[in-house]
Symmetry: C2
Subunit: 124 residues, 2 copies
């Protein structure tokens, strides 16, 4: 199981990039620990470690907006993973946007909202 993932480098956590498997849009970045990764593999739905709440986080458990795992990749030095998912409900961000990356940074460093909110703040 998880032959080579390097959880030590990040004090037990590894960043997981989450990408829509069809559109290839990057939806969010979250963190996994060993337990949440095992749960992800076992259930086929994304589980993370919530750094703010300090607990296992089955994304979408409450709202039903789970992330169904299509494929998982690991990077060359085993300290980052990439989840290709089907985002049920089409909204990955708690702000109600499809993606957490709904703001562009311009050359002058300013932020600009470039994406529509699909609904009000949501429970994830």
């Amino acid at each position: 199981m998880m032959e080579g993932l390097d959880f030590k480098k990040g004090n037990g956590l590894i960043p997981a990039i989450v990408q829509d498997y069809k559109t290839k849009r990057v939806l969010m970045l979250a963190y996994i620990n060993e337990e949440s990764f095992k749960m992800t593999l076992q259930t086929g739905e994304a589980h993370y470690w919530s750094r703010s709440r300090n607990c296992l986080w089955h994304k979408g458990k409450t709202s039903g907006h789970v992330q169904k795992i299509k494929e998982i990749y690991v990077d060359c030095d085993n300290d980052t993973v990439l989840f290709l998912v089907e985002q049920v409900g089409g909204i990955a961000c708690h702000t109600g946007h499809e993606s957490c990356f709904y703001r562009r940074i311009n050359r002058d460093g300013s932020f600009e909202i470039v994406d529509k909110k699909l609904q009000d703040e949501v429970e994830l």
Copy 2:
């Protein structure tokens, strides 16, 4: 400049997801600090903070395989950025693969190489 980026949460570093602006393939994940981000905005080429070498890293400076910035996005809580880039030379990974994510993790946790090496180990 950089109104809202939260460099404090990660001890001065923020993960940067790097995605090919045309194919939308995720190429790698690297880290930026404030200095490298300023350099990125100023030059239009990706600059990172190398955690292993503990220094500013202008990717591709030696090989010419720089990453030209097309767009930059920031996530909802200001602690992750997304670089959409043109990867000059077509190889982002030091192993000689197009992407650092050239191995798939199967349901049983095993790793499997699913992508061809384009050339031998390269200087990045």
